[in-house]
Point group: C2
DNA sequence: ATGAAAGCGCTAACAT
DNA sequence: ATGTTAGCGCTTTCAT
């Protein structure tokens, strides 16, 4: 492969001029520009990003940290990040941590090693202390999961309010036995959604019953099935479910369908996220719609601004309750 | 951030020696090594990949081309690629082409620009001519979709046989009115699966009826719903469906459920891929299981070997028919 | 075992 | 408008 030197020689100009043509600097005469462009074509020259990156000490790569690529919640966010990144001439490196600190370390090092210009973390399991440390010297943005009172800018929704509205919806439908399928409350979003859940119950003077609050280890379908199995074992069974993710809600739905009970007649369900599959289940799933695509766009914009030295502010986006068959009795 | 020069100075050695310590070259005395390691710690030095990559003229990045990240079929493959890549000290760059030739071009250029060391294409819409051209100078592997008689190594399954088995399963169940929901037959896999479909019909002397063959534009859930709507309009309706992807099958299932008919009693369905959702639908979906994770691992292995100058051979992996509720009358 | 120095391909400051 | 040249940070050959 040809390099800039050879192009310069062939065109009878200096490497600087070739570089100017490459980077659309103005100070090149049309005649010279033409000569250089010919040489480039002739030699099938492609500028090396390796050289350019070293020189500019940037990689134009953004790291996107997420626990698992298989949760459809992330795919729409990633689309948003990706599109925004590309239109700013960045690329993204998808980093699945599998909630494994060692993996995480590899990725943190990539930033320190200049292989990435910044990080968007969507990983609730991320080591926040290490990330904060990283954020002292590099650009970091949190997306969806964030740290209250932390100093890393984030984009998220009002989880407490969203959960409150979801549960209130069930209460308005006449439900007074509402179970919560939550994930681990070491995560902020889980605590916030639980708070919203409890606030709705309290507002309508319903008791908070610990046996109706189930905690899952992960957000896979199977965890939702498992949760339902456990709730079915109770003496007094709930008549409705609020699950903190659509994947869990879909698993729960599967569990209920399998037991011969009917949704929503016997048990109503509300999910969270509005993943595309939530509209394909039978019955379709009532859920909280997160503006996932937009979250991705905003996060990427924030990160790129931060990389370029601007100061960025955290953003809270709007959510929406989508009422579908799983709560339409 | 400190560079190798500063470490060398602090340790009282040359940059060459620091480099040797970094790369575990043997010819460093324990004493010197210790001095250097101390200096590295003191200065919190992190070697720059930018410099190293330029020098080694490699990026240790692999491009993964796919039409859309939202099809769950790809997520498992990506997991396989990712894990294999990481254990070989490579990283992957996920490239969504959106079936847009312009996007595709950006990614091809990244390879030519040395920003990536090779490509795994899972994109059926890829410009095969351009890809073949690229493959002349760079390492390229095809995954899932490939080119018959082409010169790019691939990993795939026997699509014709898999489709044949899926349809034969329906026939054995007593179905003689079987519809095919296929994608665009400009794709090889679509033609192969259609061939398998037809071979099964012919073997049992069933007629091939064009009106029972529906072609979708994309593989989204919605396309499956649409396909079903169209099939329902026929005078003589099929009693079973073979869809060439689980997403389509799930959409079709949705369409049938919505029409008041019952699966499998009124209409049986077989899908293709065995995405994780396929076990969460109501009823669960009979499908062809592709070894997605393994496909990813094999593809990544092939690519890395190819980058390292080895000659690689194409691989055809085993599939499996998974019988679930959607065909258990 | 260690050091000196060349050079990977590029950009930009400075000079003309 | 164009050329000269000094690096960006690293690895590796060639000396010693």
């Amino acid at each position: 492969m040809a390099n800039i030197q050879q192009v310069a020689q062939k065109a009878g100009v200096s490497v600087a001029t070739v570089s100017r043509v490459l980077n659309n600097a103005t100070s090149v005469s049309p005649k010279t520009r033409l000569k250089v462009e010919h040489a480039i074509k002739d030699l099938k020259y492609e500028p090396s990003m390796l050289g350019r990156n070293l020189r500019n000490s940037e990689s134009r790569l953004l790291l996107v940290l997420l626990p698992s690529i298989s949760n459809p919640f992330y795919t729409e966010i990633i689309n948003g990040i990706q599109n925004t990144a590309i239109s700013n001439h960045y690329n993204i490196l998808l980093c699945e941590t599998d909630s494994n600190p060692q993996r995480e370390n590899i990725y943190f090092n990539m930033v320190k090693n200049k292989l990435a210009d910044g990080v968007i973390s969507m990983d609730p399991t991320v080591n926040m202390q290490k990330l904060t440390e990283l954020a002292e010297n590099y650009s970091v943005i949190l997306c969806s999961e964030y740290e209250e009172g932390g100093c890393i800018p984030y984009v998220t929704i009002d989880n407490e309010l969203a959960a409150y509205q979801a549960v209130k919806h069930l209460i308005k439908l006449g439900h007074d036995k509402i179970a919560l399928i939550n994930s681990d409350e070491k995560y902020l979003y889980a605590r916030q959604r639980r708070n919203g859940f409890e606030r709705a119950l309290q507002e309508f003077e319903l008791p908070i019953r610990e046996e109706w609050i189930y905690h899952t280890k992960e957000l896979e379908f199977q965890n939702g099935v498992q949760a339902m199995r456990s709730l079915f074992k109770l003496e007094e069974k709930p008549t409705s479910i609020f699950a903190v993710s659509d994947t869990l809600a879909i698993g729960a739905l599967k569990g209920i369908n399998g037991s011969g009970l009917h949704v929503p007649n016997d048990i109503a369900i509300v999910g969270f996220d509005n993943i595309s599959f939530s509209n394909m289940t039978n019955p379709t799933l009532t859920t909280i719609s997160q503006p996932m695509y937009k979250m991705g766009c905003v996060a990427a914009d924030m990160l790129i601004n931060s990389i370029q030295g601007e100061k960025v502010e955290s953003v809270v986006l709007e959510h929406e309750l989508i009422i579908r068959e799983s709560t339409m009795g």
